[in-house]
């Protein structure tokens, strides 16, 4: 399902670092792609790959540690 602009707008307004916003949008785009190609069951490998790139990102790690 195409991403509703309201959702993107909501994410943009979140009080989180831009990196987190971009990561969230990327996750939603991934979901869109998974749906298009009918490969929802492969979500783990896709998410895991994306997370791999940010596993050592200090800003994101710090945000994750401080988030409650």
């Amino acid at each position: 399902m195409p991403i509703n602009p309201l959702i993107i707008e909501k994410i943009e307004k979140l009080n989180v670092p831009d990196k987190i916003k971009n990561l969230l949008k990327r996750m939603l785009e991934t979901e869109e792609q998974l749906e298009i190609f009918g490969t929802k069951k492969d979500y783990f490998i896709n998410y895991d790959n994306i997370l791999d790139k940010f596993a050592n990102d200090k800003e994101i790690i710090q945000f994750s540690e401080n988030y409650e």
Binding site: M1, N4, K10, Y43
Partner: protein, 724 residues
């Protein structure tokens, strides 16, 4: 591209043998975004609602919910006449096919049908829920469904087809959630149900679904699951790695123990080496060979000493003889010197005859001729003869001269031999030799004494003990070397095992950095999931608020005309907009109109219709979807003014939305007059035509038979601008 589209319009509908429609009928709907309305009208009972039902059935494989249906009396979805008149071994089918376009062209084709064949005559009537009612016995029914999808880049031959019910439902649910079917297949006759029925979680979920929240929900759930899976993987690796880690720990402990033992062994070996060296040194000094060597060297030294002693003694003797020889000579030296001096004096005085004997001179004179030793012939009477004769007279006896000569020779020898310098030098030489002998003797004596001491110190018992000790040490050393080799091998093998286990452990847990990264990933995924959850909750509230605002806005716009009517004489009580405040959407999406006192306002049927349309328009707006909308009986049970209001506002209300209105002839074409003024109120048709909103009109027609339900409805396209 996703199969879900923002704009979807029904391009074509085909029905065959569906309820009132005998045989195949088909019609097109508007694809024109500027003329969006298609009108299907006819008299009551000809099958307008059946069209809505047919499309619903095509999409979801079941009939729309109808209260109070008695399957035993209800006619099924298959045309009754067709079924009743089906001959034995004959077959036919019922189907509904809809063709859908998006903004780019044809995209979906959905066909659902039931093939049937008569096997035998039967008077039985069978109630079949799937067929929507009661059907004759003796007939076999085979339902089927086809979902065709054409990718935007594909050609007509590239349709992707699904025929399994479950998969088809899955695909349709993505596009048209059944919970929201009321928002595009809108039955105005069921308005009460629309608002009065509790808007349950099903509808709420449907609205959220069509608003695009599922993508957010999926991302949230997938992130949460990803976080869990990563944690699970880490946990599994930890579980898998525990035996390896334990094994490694044991091996590390064993290596540590072996290293300690190795250190102790090395230290002991060093001690043994040192002890051995001491013993070996001792034995080297004390062993037979060494003793023999000392003995031999001692013997040599003793011999040398003896030789030196002999030489020394000889030297001493020589000195003694020397002194004895020269002492008396030295004592008589002065007398001899005086004697020689006297002889020299006498000689100078010529008082000592020449050392020529008388015999020698006689021999010269007796020669014939007498010849001197120089060859000169000495003649008689010559001067030479005369000299010789003279000499003959003077010379003494030769014996005397010989004694004198011998005596002087002895004196000369004594004088020469008793030269003090020479004697002193000779004596010095002798003394020097004696010193050398003594020194050499002394050195050799020291060596001899040392060797003698060594020789004397030699203790065979101690040597034997030392040798035994050495053998013990050597035995221990061999054992320790063996142990050392064992320990080294154990350590080497242990370290090899450790490396292998380390690799296994790395493989099981990942390297420490990787392990940390995995934890980070899990944490990030969890937090992102939580953020999306928060985002979702806020969005749901936001969607509801936006829906309220938009519904209120649409509703105000739609009912505003009422005020105009009020001005022209309607009862003030009917002035709805005067105290209408807002529309509230409850958390479960139930919709109510509130007055300025926040009290629920009661709505007329027309107002309910307006509110429903407003609500639908708002939902469509927030859902970012512009799907077709088919409305059954939108003009039913409302005043002519309200019909005209809706007709006037509908196109602007739902811009670009394909609208199909299923209306009764009278409600569509009928005129009315205002009660008080008598002013003519135009028909809905005239209003729509005036606004140039209608793309096409269809008329339903059928031959009605007294007492029987219509079962032969057909559809006829009406040329625009003409009356039917």
């Amino acid at each position: 591209m996703s199969r879900t589209k923002n704009v979807l319009r029904i391009a074509h509908v085909t029905l065959k043998n569906f309820r009132a429609y005998a045989g195949e009928i088909e019609f097109d709907l508007s694809l024109d975004p500027s003329k969006t309305i298609t009108i299907i009208h006819g008299e009551m009972g000809l099958g307008k609602t059946t069209i809505l039902d047919a499309i619903y059935w095509c999409l979801y494989g079941k009939e729309r919910s109808k209260k109070g249906i008695d399957l035993m009396t209800e006619e099924g979805i298959i045309n009754t006449n067709i079924l009743e008149n089906l001959g034995i071994n004959s077959k036919d089918e019922t189907f509904v096919e809809i063709l859908l376009h998006d903004e780019e062209g044809i995209r979906f084709k959905i066909k659902r049908g039931i093939q049937f064949s008569k096997q035998s005559e039967s008077t039985d009537r069978i109630s079949n829920k799937n067929l929507g009612g009661t059907v004759p016995g003796g007939i076999n029914f085979s339902p089927y469904v086809e979902f065709h999808y054409l990718h935007p880049s594909g050609t007509e031959s590239d349709w992707e087809v699904f025929t399994k019910e479950e998969k088809v439902q899955e695909e349709i649910e993505k596009i048209f959630p059944e919970a929201l079917s009321s928002y595009f297949l809108f039955d105005a006759e069921l308005l009460n149900d629309f608002f009065l029925a509790e808007a349950d979680e099903h509808v709420k979920n449907g609205i959220e679904k069509i608003s695009g929240l599922p993508i957010l929900d999926d991302a949230r759930d997938h992130l949460k699951n990803t976080s869990r899976q990563i944690q699970k993987l880490i946990a599994n690796k930890e579980v898998n790695s525990k035996p390896i880690a334990d094994n490694m720990s044991q091996i590390e402990q064993a290596i540590s123990d072996y290293k300690t033992k190795l250190d102790e062994t090395e230290k002991r070996l060093d001690q043994i080496k040192s002890q051995k060296k001491g013993i070996q040194d001792y034995l080297r000094q004390h062993d037979d060979q060494e003793i023999n060597s000392i003995q031999k060297r001692l013997d040599d030294v003793i011999n040398t000493l003896k030789e030196l002693d002999k030489n020394k003694k000889e030297n001493d003797e020589t000195i003694k003889q020397f002194l004895l020889n020269y002492t008396y000579k030295l004592l008589s030296r002065n007398s001899i010197l005086e004697t020689e001096k006297k002889f020299q004096e006498w000689e100078n005085q010529g008082r000592i005859p020449l050392a020529v004997t008388k015999i020698a001179l006689q021999n010269i004179l007796n020669g014939h001729p007498a010849t001197c030793i120089c060859g000169t012939i000495i003649k008689d009477g010559s001067s030479e003869r005369k000299k010789i004769d003279d000499l003959m007279k003077r010379v003494v006896d030769s014996t005397l001269i010989q004694h004198i000569t011998v005596g002087r020779s002895i004196l000369s020898n004594v004088i020469s031999a008793t030269d003090t310098q020479k004697l002193s030098s000779a004596l010095g030489e002798l003394k020097s030799k004696r010193g050398q002998f003594r020194m050499a003797y002394s050195e050799k004596k020291a060596i001899k004494d040392s060797l003698q001491q060594k020789y004397d110190n030699h203790n065979i018992t101690e040597v034997q003990e030392k040798a035994k000790m050495l053998r013990t040490l050597e035995q221990e050393e061999i054992t320790l070397y063996g142990n050392r080799k064992t320990y080294q091998e154990k350590i080497e093998f242990g370290e090899k095992d450790l490396k292998g286990l380390k690799r296994q452990l790395d493989a099981a847990t990942g390297k420490s950095n990787k392990y940390q990264s995995e934890n980070n990933k899990s944490k990030i995924a969890k937090v992102l999931s939580d953020v999306l959850e928060q985002c979702r909750n806020e969005l749901v509230d936001q969607l509801r608020n936006v829906t309220s605002e938009k519904t209120t806005r649409y509703f105000k716009k739609l009912v505003s005309k009422k005020e105009d009517f009020a001005r022209v004489g309607l009862d003030k009580k009917e002035d709805f907009s005067s105290d209408f405040a807002r529309v509230e959407i409850k958390p479960n999406y139930q919709t109510i109109a509130l007055d300025s006192n926040e009290k629920t306002k009661s709505l007329s049927t027309g107002q309910s219709c307006c509110l429903a349309l407003s609500y639908i328009a708002a939902i469509r707006e927030i859902a970012n979807r512009n799907y077709f909308m088919m409305v059954d009986s939108p003009l039913h049970n409302i005043s002519q003014e309200e019909r005209v209001e809706i007709a006037q506002n509908l196109p602007s209300f739902l811009p670009g939305t394909q609208i199909t209105l299923l209306v009764q002839d009278q409600e569509y074409t009928g005129h009315a007059k205002k009660k008080i003024t008598g002013q003519d109120i135009p028909s809905v048709r005239d209003t729509l035509m005036k606004n140039n909103s209608v793309w096409r009109e269809y008329l339903l027609e059928a031959k009605k038979e007294e007492g029987n339900a219509v079962s032969n409805t057909t559809i006829r396209k009406i040329e625009m601008g003409k009356t039917q």
